[in-house]
C-alpha cells in the first residue's frame, strides 16, 4: 500500500468537507445532543426541581448494584451511574458519520463522474477504500472526541464531588478509547462497502439502516440497563469489532468491482 497516494486522497476528502461544512451538521447535532441530555437529566433537572438524585429509589437501587466507588455520596453515586450510562450515546456519533459521509464515499464520486479519472490513476482498490474510510473517520472521530472532552469538562465543572474522578475507570476508558473507535470503524467501513455497491447516495443511506439498527439497539439496551458490560467484556467486544472491521475491509476490496461501477447504472 502506498501511503502517499492514500494521504493525497485523504487530503482531498478533508478539503472537500471543509468546503461543505453543513455535511457535518448531523454529526455535530447528534454529538451536542449526546452532550446535553446527560447534563439535563443528571444536573439541570435535580437543580431545578430541588430534588436530589438519591431521592429516586429506583435509580438509587440500580446505581448501588453497579458497583460504584465507596467514597461517593448517595446522590453522587446516582449521578456517576447516569453519566457512565450516557457515555454510550457517543457511539452514535460515528454511526451518524457513516450515514452522512461514508455513504457518499464511492457512489458520490460516481455520480459526479469523478470516479473514472480517479480509477485511471495508479491508486489500488485498497488505497482508495482506505482513503475514503479515513476521509470520513477523521472528522467524525474529531467531533466525537471534542464532544467527549466537553463531556469530561462538564462533569468536572458541574458534577457532584468525586464524580469526575470516579469516571476515570477502566469501563469508561475502554468504552471511549477502545469500543467506540472500533464500532466507528465498523460503521464507516460498512457504509463505504455499501457505497461501492449501489448506484446513488440515497440507496446507500437506506441500506445504512442495517448498520444503524443493531448498534442503536445495543446503545438503547445499555441505557435502559438491560445490558451492562464489564471491563473484560468491553475488551473482548473491542477486539471483536476490530476483527469485524478488518474482515469488512478485505471484503470491501474483494467486492469492489471497477467494471460494474464504471459501466452499469442498474
Amino acid at each position: 500500500m502506498n501511503g502517499n497516494r492514500v494521504r493525497a486522497l485523504v487530503k482531498k476528502e478533508l478539503l472537500d468537507l471543509a468546503r461543505n461544512p453543513t455535511a457535518l451538521m448531523p454529526v455535530a447535532i447528534l454529538t451536542a445532543f449526546s452532550l446535553l441530555l446527560p447534563f439535563l437529566v443528571a444536573v439541570a433537572i435535580p437543580a431545578l426541581t430541588d430534588r436530589g438524585l438519591d431521592r429516586d429509589a429506583g435509580l438509587s437501587r440500580i446505581s448501588a448494584a453497579a458497583n460504584p466507588p465507596a467514597a461517593l455520596s448517595d446522590a453522587a453515586r446516582v449521578q456517576f451511574f447516569l453519566f457512565q450510562q450516557f457515555l454510550v450515546l457517543f457511539l452514535l456519533t460515528p454511526i451518524t458519520g457513516a450515514l452522512v459521509l461514508a455513504a457518499h464515499a464511492v457512489v458520490g464520486e460516481k455520480q459526479a463522474r469523478a470516479l473514472e479519472p480517479l480509477l485511471a490513476t495508479p491508486i489500488t482498490t485498497l488505497e482508495l477504500l482506505a482513503a475514503k474510510l479515513f476521509g470520513a473517520a477523521i472528522p467524525t472521530f474529531a467531533i466525537s472526541f471534542v464532544g467527549l472532552a466537553l463531556y469530561a469538562g462538564g462533569i468536572l465543572t458541574f458534577g457532584l464531588p468525586g464524580v469526575a474522578l470516579a469516571m476515570l475507570n477502566a469501563r469508561s476508558l475502554l468504552l471511549v478509547l477502545w469500543v467506540s473507535p472500533a464500532a466507528g470503524l465498523v460503521s464507516l467501513q460498512s457504509a463505504v462497502l455499501i457505497s461501492s455497491r449501489v448506484n446513488d447516495p440515497r440507496t446507500a443511506q437506506q441500506w445504512g439502516v442495517l448498520i444503524v439498527a443493531p448498534l442503536s439497539g445495543l446503545v438503547i439496551a445499555h441505557l435502559m440497563g438491560a445490558l451492562s458490560f464489564s471491563a473484560p467484556v468491553l475488551v473482548l467486544i473491542g477486539v471483536g469489532l476490530f476483527a469485524v472491521w478488518l474482515v469488512l475491509l478485505l471484503f470491501s476490496v474483494a467486492l469492489f468491482d471497477r467494471e460494474t461501477i464504471l459501466t452499469r447504472w442498474r
Partner: protein, 309 residues
C-alpha cells in the same frame, strides 16, 4: 507502444467491441472514429486498464496489461474520459495537486504552474471547478491528464465543447506531445480534427473497419474523375478529350476546368496530357478527385467494411 490484440468486450449478450487489433507507435497520433455506440469508449477503457477485455490482450510498451502490472502501467498512461470529472468544490490547483499526489510527483506546484501556462489557464488556478465553463473544465481535465508526462495518451473526445481557439491550442499541445515521443490515441467525432491531427485514422464499428493514413483512406474511395484546369476557355479542347476517352464518357466544363470521368486513370491520364499539350492547351493543374474523409467514413460505417474501397 500501445498494442491491442484481438480485443473483444461483451456486456451480457451485447458485443461492444469485436476482435479489434491495432497498434500505436511512439510519436504517432491515431484518431479513433466511429458512430455513437461503436465501442470507442469501451476500447479506450480497456487500453487504460479500467475494464478488462472479454478476450484479447493489451500491451503498453511491450508489457501486457494485467491485474498484476496495472498499477505500474497506469503510471505511464494518461487517460482523459469523456466527462472532465473534476471535484466541484476544489479549485483548479487543488484538483491538480490531488492528482499530483496520486502520481507521486515532486515539485507539484511547479509542474501545475507550467501545465496551466501551456493552456492559458494560469489565471484560473484559484477558481473553483464548479465555476468554470464547460470548455475550461475540459482544458483542466486535459492538464490533469498530462501532469505526470505519460508516454501514452488515451483521450476520449478531448476537444468536445471547446471553441475553435481552444481546439487549436489542444491540437498544438498534442502535436508537441507527439514530437516528445508520446503514443496518442484520440477518440473523436470531428473529422476535420482527425484529418489535421492524426497520422492514421481507425474507423471502429464494433470491429475495426479500416485503419490507414487519412490521405490513403480518401484515395481508396475514388470518384474516378480527373480535373484538368486550363489557362483560358477549356471548351475548344472537348473534342480532343472525347477522342481519347470515348463518345459515352462523361465530360463536363466547370469554369476553367475540364472534368473527365476516366475508367483507367493510370493508363488514360498520360495520354490525355499528351493530347492536350499537342493541341496547344495550357495545362495549369491536373489532379484526380478524391473523396472527402467524411464520405469515406460514411461509406465505411454504412457498409461496415471497406466494401468497394
Amino acid at each position: 507502444m500501445i498494442a491491442a490484440q484481438h480485443l473483444s468486450r461483451r456486456f451480457g449478450s451485447r458485443t461492444a467491441v469485436n476482435d479489434v487489433t491495432f497498434e500505436v507507435a511512439r510519436s504517432e497520433i491515431v484518431a479513433l472514429l466511429g458512430p455513437n455506440g461503436a465501442g470507442k469508449t469501451t476500447t479506450l477503457r480497456m487500453l487504460a486498464g479500467l475494464i478488462g477485455p472479454t478476450s484479447g490482450t493489451v500491451a503498453i510498451g511491450g508489457v501486457e496489461l494485467t491485474r498484476a502490472t496495472g498499477t505500474a502501467l497506469r503510471m505511464r498512461i494518461g487517460f482523459l474520459p469523456e466527462a472532465p470529472g473534476l471535484w466541484d468544490r476544489l479549485t483548479v490547483r487543488e484538483n491538480l495537486r490531488a492528482y499530483a499526489g496520486l502520481y507521486g510527483l515532486t515539485d507539484a506546484d511547479g509542474r501545475i504552474d507550467r501545465a496551466l501556462d501551456m493552456l492559458a489557464l494560469s489565471d484560473r488556478a484559484s477558481t473553483r471547478s464548479a465555476e468554470l465553463s464547460k470548455g475550461m473544465r475540459q482544458k483542466v481535465a486535459l492538464v490533469r491528464t498530462l501532469l505526470h508526462e505519460p508516454a501514452v495518451l488515451l483521450l476520449d473526445e478531448p476537444t468536445s465543447g471547446l471553441d475553435p481557439e481552444m481546439t487549436r491550442s489542444v491540437r498544438l499541445l498534442l502535436e508537441e506531445r507527439r514530437r516528445a515521443g508520446c503514443a496518442i490515441l484520440v477518440s473523436t467525432h470531428n473529422l476535420d480534427e482527425a484529418q489535421r491531427l492524426a497520422d492514421r485514422v481507425a474507423v471502429l464499428q464494433e470491429r475495426l473497419v479500416a485503419i490507414d493514413r487519412p490521405a490513403d483512406l480518401r484515395r481508396r474511395l475514388t470518384t474516378g474523375r480527373l480535373i484538368i484546369r486550363l489557362g483560358g476557355d477549356p471548351s475548344p479542347f472537348l473534342d480532343t478529350v472525347r477522342r481519347l476517352v470515348g463518345p459515352t464518357a462523361e465530360i463536363a466544363v466547370e469554369r476553367d476546368s475540364l472534368v473527365v470521368h476516366v475508367a483507367r486513370p493510370d493508363e488514360q491520364t498520360p495520354a490525355l496530357v499528351a493530347a492536350l499539350v499537342a493541341a496547344r492547351a495550357s495545362i495549369m493543374e491536373i489532379r484526380a478527385e478524391t473523396a472527402a474523409l467524411e464520405d469515406v467514413y460514411l461509406h465505411l460505417v454504412e457498409n461496415k467494411g471497406p466494401g468497394d474501397l
